[in-house]
């Protein structure tokens, strides 16, 4: 396998709330993303998936661990060159397309903001051409550059968010629940667009979501998070055909299936960390096979694999 584009190693992110209380959002999560692939992060709310995305793009300062992007360390203090590299090569698409677009700016200026900051154009004509080309790429018309975000529908706004991320030609795009707020039919449009763009530009995605059927569809590899621990990771195929960890099993059992006869007979498998007797702190990574690993103690691992 080629060199990893992003390598996250034992990332720790804590938020001190008061002298005696700290929220431990992420506790030693490791994974890597290779150029051109899509890595899906799934988990329930509060599992730390959004925090990981934000720590990687340095909206937060990581408490511990290392993040290597493009062969450079980006978890600590960065020199200007590294910071510029990070700001250009990694972009983010946010969940709520309304609150992530400045309502007082025209869409064209929102999209071109990256170009403005990094002085990436020689003339205004060049800037305009770049914006129009992107608008076309994401399926909007060039005339839309003169409009404001509130004049668009939810799906169109999310396209603007994608165009803004793409203008810097990034190597990695962090898509944080970017389709959760959209209608089913619009979700499919946006996901198709993201796939087309990946085919064209070869960018990698970190796809953060809680909708497993969409994650399965778009991702090459998946990481399952719970309470800030990566409980299981592997290729999409490995996770879905052979889930080992009880949390993953519970998560998969909850995916709604649009098939009434099957769905009405099925009950989800409950999972309660407090009463399960599992202590994530004691677990270590166990290799199941291929790239499939699971967080468990030796005894747990033997028991879970024995069940299969």
């Amino acid at each position: 396998m080629s060199e990893a584009l992003l390598q996250v190693d034992k990332l720790v992110q804590h938020f001190p709330i008061s002298r005696s209380f700290t929220v431990k959002a992420v506790n030693g999560v490791s994974f890597s993303i290779y150029p051109g692939e899509t890595y899906g992060l799934v988990g329930e709310s509060g599992s730390g998936k959004t925090t990981i995305g934000r720590s990687i793009i340095r909206l937060y300062d990581p408490t511990g661990g290392s993040i290597r992007f493009n062969g450079r360390e980006i978890s600590g203090r960065m020199n200007r060159e590294t910071r510029n590299m990070l700001r250009e090569d990694m972009q983010m698409i946010f969940q709520d397309p309304m609150s992530s677009l400045n309502p007082r700016k025209k869409v064209g200026d929102i999209i071109a903001e990256g170009l403005d900051i990094h002085h990436r154009y020689a003339s205004r004509a060049e800037r305009r051409a770049a914006v129009q080309e992107l608008l076309k790429k994401v399926g909007l018309s060039p005339a839309h550059a003169e409009r404001y975000p509130h004049q668009f529908s939810g799906g169109q706004r999310q396209r603007v968010g994608i165009a803004r991320a793409l203008i810097m030609n990034p190597k990695l795009i962090i898509a944080d629940e970017c389709i959760s707020a959209l209608d089913v039919s619009i979700q499919a449009q946006v996901v198709n667009l993201m796939k087309d763009i990946q085919d064209e530009t070869g960018c990698a995605y970190l796809f953060i979501a809680h909708d497993l059927s969409m994650v399965k569809y778009i991702s090459d590899r998946i990481g399952v998070l719970h309470l800030g621990y990566m409980v299981e990771t592997g290729t999409t195929e490995e996770i879905f055909s052979n889930p080992i960890h009880p949390y993953t099993k519970s998560l998969l059992s909850a995916v709604p299936n649009p098939n009434p006869e099957v769905e009405k007979r099925r009950h989800s498998i409950p999972y309660d960390y407090a009463s399960s007797g599992i202590d994530y702190d004691l677990g270590t990574e166990h290799l199941v096979g291929g790239s499939h690993t699971v967080l468990a103690t030796d005894a747990e691992f033997a028991a879970w694999c024995g069940e299969v």
Binding site: E44, S45, P256, N259
Partner: protein, 359 residues
């Protein structure tokens, strides 16, 4: 009104006055709900599914006008007497004092905004019982604890003193359900009850509502855009598009034998766990603005197989079986034979096979 029906909506027609002009949001909706049944209304945002149910509970915004139609409700009083009331004609005051919360209860999408942050959850659950059932405080308290246990909140007695912010999202939604159930309603309207929740919690909340429905003999109306939810809970499904019901049928008819191109689109757009085609099918374009009255079939501009007639006249509801109707010209005897997309067909076959296996 039908013998067994508990709620019937006839030709409901609603418009909204806005700065941009008059929006004709509901254009003749018919719906009926029988005792103990679950009916789902599915559609994209802006299709009018929430507005329909808001009309039934008198929660329409001030700029709404009801142009016509009726919402008949068979109201059974506690002494056993029966009367049929038109909820649209009832004075708002009477609706609030004797129907809402008492006979028809609602569960809203976001549990954080539907709970009062300054009141303990115990008091919020007791509120309805004190008002509608005129229970004493002690009785109401005892019942509130029972309800909390019913909706699966551990240590109910202690939780009574908690405020909403001390609970997780799933717990809050359970509290909202407990409040809705507090006055022994006949109808429970769930407006996107699990959209704000995680899949694991979603499954448990839906199973909970189903359990309670069986125990208490409730009739439930689900408003949702998630077809997975519909498959799990519904007996009958109404597919809504641009203020009209375009297809209605029992859940098996809609999921195994859909007839309307819009329903095909909705089903195809949702990947099941077996989908591995390169591209997801998506319905092109976006829902129409109802500022201008659509001419012909409102779905025609987004329909790749639209015919000339779709631009000329609005299709009526064609009957397919006793319970299954769809509003598309494709069902007209003169229409060319058009099959659903091949991928969807393959998928439905797979689904049917799977269904036979579990039966």
């Amino acid at each position: 009104m039908n013998e067994k029906a508990i709620l019937e909506i006839h030709d409901l027609d609603i418009s909204f006055r806005t700065n941009a002009g008059v929006i004709h949001a509901i254009r003749g909706v018919n719906l009926d709900l029988q005792k103990g049944e679950t009916v789902a209304i599915v559609g994209e945002s802006g299709s009018g599914k929430s507005v329909t149910m808001k009309a039934a509970t008198g929660l329409l915004d001030a700029n709404a006008t009801v142009n016509g139609g009726e919402v008949l409700y068979r109201c059974v009083e506690s002494d056993g007497s029966e009367r049929i009331v038109d909820l649209l004609k009832l004075p708002k005051k009477e609706l609030r004092s004797s129907i809402n919360g008492r006979h028809i209860a609602m569960v809203f999408q976001d549990p954080m905004t539907s709970l009062d942050p300054t009141m303990t959850i115990g008091r919020q659950i007791m509120e309805g019982m004190l008002m509608h059932l005129r229970l004493s405080k002690a009785e109401a308290r005892a019942r509130a604890v029972e309800l909390l246990e019913l909706v699966g909140i551990p240590e109910a007695e202690k939780r009574m003193k908690n405020y909403p912010h001390q609970l997780s999202g799933g717990m809050r939604q359970r509290v909202v359900i407990a409040i809705a159930l507090s006055s022994d309603p006949d109808i429970l309207i769930c407006d996107e009850p699990t959209t704000a929740l995680d899949v694991t919690i979603q499954a448990r909340i839906l199973e909970l509502i189903k359990d309670i429905q069986k125990k208490m003999g409730l009739s439930v109306i689900y408003i949702t855009h998630d077809l997975g939810v519909v498959a799990k809970v519904a007996d009958y499904v109404n597919v809504m598009y641009a203020g009209k019901i375009v297809e209605v049928g029992n859940v098996n008819e809609i999921f195994y034998d859909p007839r309307h191109p819009y329903t095909w689109g909705l089903l195809s757009a949702m990947p099941d766990l077996e989908t591995d085609d390169e591209r997801l099918y998506s319905i092109p374009g976006s829902p129409p603005s109802l500022l201008r009255e659509p001419v012909g079939d409102a779905f025609a501009p987004r329909n790749a197989i639209a015919m000339r007639v779709d631009e000329l006249g609005e299709p009526p509801l064609f009957q397919i079986s006793e319970t299954h109707y769809a509003a598309t010209w494709l069902l007209h005897p003169y229409a060319p034979k058009v099959e659903m997309p091949a991928e969807l067909k393959a998928r439905l076959q797979r689904a049917r096979k799977e269904a036979e296996r579990v039966q």
